[in-house]
């Protein structure tokens, strides 16, 4: 539901790092605990990118599974639903060790090269 806000933040960060160049691709790393709906993020992005330096920019998202570590028995559990309960001992004294990532990893920007330099 807040994907449009996220897209705005992503767009601002990408443009700020592009140094005036067009951005072709933005790589993101998002944990499953972040409640981002992949389809909604992509459709909000197509709405947001509009004209300008992001007009052809695609979002590549690496979704990171949520895992917890149990403080009682030490087991690590990968969650298929966001319930914080140890898969080994059923304990609830757990720490989230992955799944809350919310990172802009990199952007790919266009650099125009004269063909003589290339060939």
């Amino acid at each position: 539901m807040h994907e449009l806000s996220l897209c705005q933040a992503i767009a601002d960060t990408a443009v700020a790092n592009a140094d005036g160049r067009d951005v072709e691709r933005i790589r993101l790393r998002i944990g499953h605990f972040r409640q981002v709906v992949p389809e909604t993020l992509q459709s909000c992005w197509r709405m947001r990118r509009s004209d300008g330096p992001l007009a052809r920019c695609e979002l590549d998202v690496e979704y990171v599974p949520a895992t917890i570590e149990c403080r009682t028995c030490g087991s690590t559990t990968t969650l298929d639903q966001p319930l914080l309960r140890c898969g080994a001992c059923d304990g609830t004294d757990v720490a989230l060790v992955s799944g809350d990532e919310f990172l802009i990893v990199s952007i790919d920007v266009t650099s125009a090269l004269a063909s003589e330099e290339v060939n």
Partner: protein
């Protein structure tokens, strides 16, 4: 869900391939041309057909960013936190679904605190001033925040919006700021607004399964207020099942059962808020800032 695939640089990801999705074999489109550019010329990736670009071709360059998506919001939230701490003000971000009873609870809360603490409210109402009018009549300083002022959403308050509200309060005359978030069980949990504590108001009319459906919100709460407890005889609501569901997503939250309608149990909520306000005061006399959101 999209297609999962691996790039030559070792990154693995998936993304939606809609009709204009990228083609990995078309270097002229928005494909993976950057991988070759990344190789810095040493990759020897020959055979790139970039078509006729009339003397120019476009290459790609990867710029590492490694910034948090909501990094700017988080920085502004830290600013709000420091501002409030500097004035010795404790702050509580109150979140709930629409109609759970946030405003009714605050209407009971403000008169109960009035003799001991000076209360300000930042009110995140999307389109009306109805809630703000109720609360200002009770003697609280109220700043109504237009939720379209921030990062572009109307489903939550963010740090920019809350700052706009704080700037309209006379902070020197306050002990406690209550931030009444927009009614929504998803988005407000993601946005730090600079609060000391997060409170969630849940009504038993919402059903006992809600912690499992909205685990991030319930997980984020320091205190969960279980409201409309006066309706218990009239509902098929299993309070034990709710407690058990809540424990699965947040075993450490303080749980306060009350009725904003009858006043039953409200004292425990008032005591919790008062403890927050006292902590805010004493923190100001030791060190400004430093108290994190979690």
């Amino acid at each position: 869900m999209g297609r999962f695939h691996r790039h030559p640089d070792g990154t693995v990801h998936e993304h939606d391939h809609d009709d204009d999705g990228h083609d990995h074999h078309d270097a002229d489109a928005d494909g993976d041309a950057e991988v070759e550019a990344d190789a810095g010329g040493g990759g020897g990736g020959g055979g790139r057909d970039v078509g006729d670009h009339s003397g120019y071709e476009t290459g790609s360059e990867r710029v590492m960013v490694l910034e948090q998506i909501l990094g700017e919001n988080d920085r502004l939230a830290d600013g709000n936190r420091a501002l409030l701490a500097g004035h010795g003000i404790a702050s509580v971000n109150v979140m709930s679904s629409p109609g759970a009873g946030k405003t009714s609870l605050l209407a009971r809360t403000i008169p109960a605190l009035r003799d001991r603490f000076r209360v300000g409210v930042v009110e995140g109402d999307i389109a009306t001033s109805i809630d703000a009018d109720v609360l200002s009549d009770l003697g609280a300083q109220v700043a109504l925040v237009n939720t379209s002022a921030g990062f572009g959403g109307e489903c939550h308050l963010d740090a920019v919006m809350v700052r706009a509200g704080l700037d309209r309060l006379r902070l020197d005359e306050l002990d406690l700021v209550i931030i009444e978030n927009v009614g929504n069980l998803v988005c407000p949990a993601e946005f730090d607004v600079g609060q000391d504590a997060r409170a969630m108001v849940y009504a038993i009319t919402e059903g006992e399964e809600k912690p499992l459906k909205y685990p991030v919100m319930f997980h984020a709460a320091d205190v969960v207020v279980v409201n409309k407890i006066d309706l218990l005889p009239h509902l098929r609501f299993d309070l034990d099942a709710f407690r058990s569901n809540l424990e699965q997503v947040n075993p450490v939250a303080t749980v306060i059962e009350l009725s904003a309608e009858t006043g039953e149990g409200v004292d425990a909520w008032i005591d919790w808020l008062a403890a927050q306000a006292v902590a805010g005061r004493s923190a100001a006399t030791t060190t400004a800032g430093g108290r994190g959101a979690d």
